[in-house]
Symmetry: C2
């Protein structure tokens, strides 16, 4: 029914960009014990993917500790695809880390083989991205290239451009999350998604209009070309995320 | 949260065009006994409004029989606002009636005082509409002016124009239902609704993109300015209508 990506991303049994819209649950605990306990809880909710927002972890700047947690997290979640994300402060991250620090952490994490997908902001720059891509290819780790704007929704043309750029810069998946000021902004995000999916962007996309007014984009974005939606299991990592049970209910209704 | 109409329509305890998006259930039974039985069933589902699609009734061309059923229907549904609709064949109706026949039936029904809202197609023409309006004012019956296209979705500009025209022609509520060919068409309908609600149209609006691909507009149209959504209790009268329980669930989630 809905338009599928022509360059789907396959991670074990999970196909991103096919008919089914996937649900990702984020983990953003500060402490290791919390993180692992919550991981144990959210896998019971049957998410299609899990994201570890490592920038929320209290020891995000200590590589060794991060990799140890990563190992345990991987064991806990089994074969569920894991997105590893170290968000910069500029785009909503919780930890002050320099670019080189983030690069070292991300490439170190990917090298372990425990990460399926790394989410990198396009604003990190070509050098950063190329290096992650290089390490990722060795470890069969896929790349989300992302753009976030927590203040406003740029023009439709700009959003389309960001999605196109994500593919051009070598991303396997393109992501745009923007904040609406009104319902018109929600339509801007959905229209940009729909236009991008009409031939301009071949890779899977993740797009959302944040906040309460944008909630409809988290429920119905799949109709317009978004392939993954972020919901809450225990942790919410962005405004407007809805409980996974609610999101699944609406998807079933739309099906 | 969502933008309210500046000219709300109040029918007893029901406010159309306020914060709450209302759910209307249609009745389209062929036989009187079925119609009344189904009316009894659907009121248990708690609809905000009920529509009688009289063109589906086997005796739609016999005024006396229609008015008798109308009386019994009114008694059955109590104070729930009733929309009386005699759809023309051209816009999806089930009965071959001439314009004068429809006008006679509609004005006859309104005159009884049992009808709260009459739905009239804008294509019926100014003479037809003015006459209904005249009779309606005497009987405190409100007027929906509607446009339907079961083949396609016209351009955004055209849809906005239809909504504006409904207000200009004296409608208390504007309605547009169009068929999408793809998800872009759904956005056209939602964008037109959103633009119309941003000052161009002051009266409440009912807009929907029909069929499976348009289902999201029946669930989330309220965010963009639509004030009533049609769902199914027992009868479905247009492609893409969803069960009232599902529609209510999604509205609760969006709230």
């Amino acid at each position: 029914m809905r338009k599928q990506s022509s360059r789907q991303v396959v991670i074990r049994d999970t196909v991103i960009g096919a008919e089914k819209v996937l649900i990702c649950l984020p983990l953003s605990a500060k402490r290791k014990s919390e993180l692992l306990a919550r991981a144990g809880e959210i896998i019971k909710l049957g998410p299609d993917l899990i994201e570890w927002r490592v920038d929320c972890f209290e020891h995000a700047r200590e590589m060794d500790k991060c990799l140890l947690v990563l190992r345990e997290l991987r064991k806990k979640i089994g074969s569920i695809p894991l997105i590893f994300t170290c968000r910069s402060e500029l785009e909503g991250g919780q930890n002050t880390m320099s670019g080189p620090e983030r690069l070292e952490l991300v490439t170190g994490a990917i090298s372990t083989g425990d990460v399926d997908i790394a989410d990198i902001e396009m604003s990190s720059g070509a050098g950063f991205i190329d290096r992650v891509k290089e390490v990722g290819e060795e470890s069969l780790c896929k790349l989300i290239l992302s753009y976030h704007n927590f203040d406003r929704t740029p023009a439709e043309e700009f959003v389309v451009e960001k999605l196109v750029q994500a593919e051009e810069m070598g991303g396997d998946i393109a992501k745009v999350a923007v904040m609406p000021q009104n319902s018109g902004d929600v339509l801007t995000l959905l229209s940009a998604t729909c236009r991008a999916r009409t031939g301009l962007v071949k890779i899977p996309m993740i797009t959302m209009s944040m906040g309460a007014v944008g909630a409809i984009s988290r429920l119905g974005g799949g109709v317009f070309g978004s392939d993954i939606t972020f919901a809450t299991g225990i942790d919410a990592t962005a405004p407007g995320q809805l409980p996974i049970g609610d999101v699944r209910k609406v998807m079933d209704i739309l099906d």
